[in-house]
């Protein structure tokens, strides 16, 4: 009795006919606000699809936008880094110029304060290629009447002496060089000695007997006994002192900033000058204190390398 003929084709036809009629109904029937049912269905069918599509597109668009933004941000970041580097370089240049201005102002002030003392301003143009020696080159030479054994100072203190001269430049042996020696004395006790270089930033003061009371921070000035440096130029300060045999071992530190030399003063004579007069001296005496050079004492220890 029961048979199962193929229903595939009729079922397709059924589906089509039903769908057509459903669509026919949807076109005729109106819902709230006089909206046709087909529009309601279309909206209900397409709205979620559109929402999903919009969500996907917005996600993709957002990702793309973020990607582009990140790319732009990276470019901007690179540009900003480059700008920061450029500004830092510019800042360093300006700082350098400001410092140079300060130094030149100090030198100018120094020259104004010592108008009677013959001196020459020079720029440090180089340093020794030998790491064991402490030598710098300055941009003046024989043409500017420079010669060996002229003192080189800064407004802060003693730098060294000229050891070689060419027509346009001169070689300055810094007081930190191992071959350097400067006649010195303690500014308070007036005890004499010799400040020698060690090849290191620190100096050493020799020929001070153990009985002499030396304390850290004590100022050391030139004694003028070496016939190179005028007397009482600031030279160094004591950092440490301990008994030795036969003399004390006194470590001292130069007052001039020898590691940052750019402009120096070459003293063309051994006239005594006061680099930093005290406020009292400044009030009672003229800015420039120039006195005749003293004769070197024959009894003083050999201070400077010939």
């Amino acid at each position: 009795m029961i048979d199962f003929p193929s229903k595939q084709r009729p079922f397709t036809l059924l589906t089509i006919v039903i769908l057509l009629q459903v669509l026919l109904l949807a076109f005729q029937i109106k819902r709230e606000r006089d909206v046709r049912l087909v529009r309601v269905w279309a909206a209900e069918i397409f709205t979620p699809v559109q929402r999903v599509a919009t969500w996907i597109l917005s996600g993709v668009g957002g990702s793309w936008h973020n990607y582009i933004g990140l790319r732009h941000m990276r470019q901007e970041n690179d540009q900003l880094h480059a700008e920061v580097d450029r500004l830092q370089l510019r800042n360093r240049e300006l700082e350098s110029r400001a410092m140079e201005g300060d130094r030149l102002a100090a030198l100018l002030h120094f020259r104004d304060s010592h108008t009677d003392a013959p001196m020459l301003f020079a720029q440090v143009i180089g340093a020794s290629a030998d790491s064991t020696s402490r030598i710098v080159f300055i941009n003046h030479g024989e043409r500017d009447h420079l010669k060996r054994n002229l003192a080189v100072i800064t407004p802060d203190g003693v730098v060294g002496k000229i050891v070689e001269v060419t027509s346009n430049s001169a070689q300055v042996l810094l007081i930190t060089d191992k071959d350097s020696g400067v006649g010195a004395l303690f500014s308070e006790t007036r005890t004499q000695g010799v400040v020698k270089g060690t090849g290191e930033p620190q100096l050493r003061m020799d020929y001070v007997v153990n009985e002499e009371k030396v304390h850290a921070g004590e100022a050391i000035v030139t004694s003028g006994e070496d016939r190179i440096f005028p007397k009482d130029l600031p030279l160094a300060t004591v950092t440490a002192a301990r008994p030795g045999n036969p003399f004390q071992k006194i470590d001292v530190k130069p007052v001039a900033r020898l590691d940052r030399l750019e402009e120096v003063i070459v003293l063309l004579s051994q006239q005594d000058i006061s680099l930093k007069p005290t406020p009292d001296e400044a009030a009672s005496t003229p800015d420039v204190s120039i006195v005749p050079a003293k004769q070197p004492a024959t009894t003083a220890p050999a201070a400077s390398k010939p």
């Binding site: 003929p5 079922f11 059924l14 039903i18 026919l24 005729q28």
Partner: protein, 173 residues
Amino acid sequence: MSSRAQAEQHIEVHKFYGGAMALAAFLALFLQAFLNKYGSWAAMLELPLLITIYFSVSRRSPAIGLLLGAMVGILQDAVSHMPIGFYGIAKTLVGYVASSFGARIDTEHPLSRFGLVVAFFFFHQAVLTILNRLILGRPGSYFSWRLLIASIVNAGVAMFLFPALDRLRKPHG
């Protein structure tokens, strides 16, 4: 010979004289509209449904059944106040299912015809209710005593109508 062909040998497909189905459908629609003017009792009758059931079951072809149902239903919609497709969908489904049943069980016996009409009346009513609720947004019931009575009335009418329609069949030869 394929199993399908073997199976189809047991199916008795009835053919009708030319225009019989169309004429019967037209008359059913006309009578339905005509009788509805004379009282609410006539509203219980579903002559287009009975015509759809009869010809679908007799032809035993789902394609013919669903197309006949669609045509009758759409025409019924056309002469009623319902939107086109309302009865069309219901009778399309009835025609399709009835022709499927007709291809599987004996639909010639009066009792089976009575049962088929009652079942398809409720099936037809269920589809209308679904369409009412889903598409028209109207309330509708799948079962009520009035529907039960209507189904029995239609089945009773079918007991007379179907044999009358049997006369439109072409004799086997």
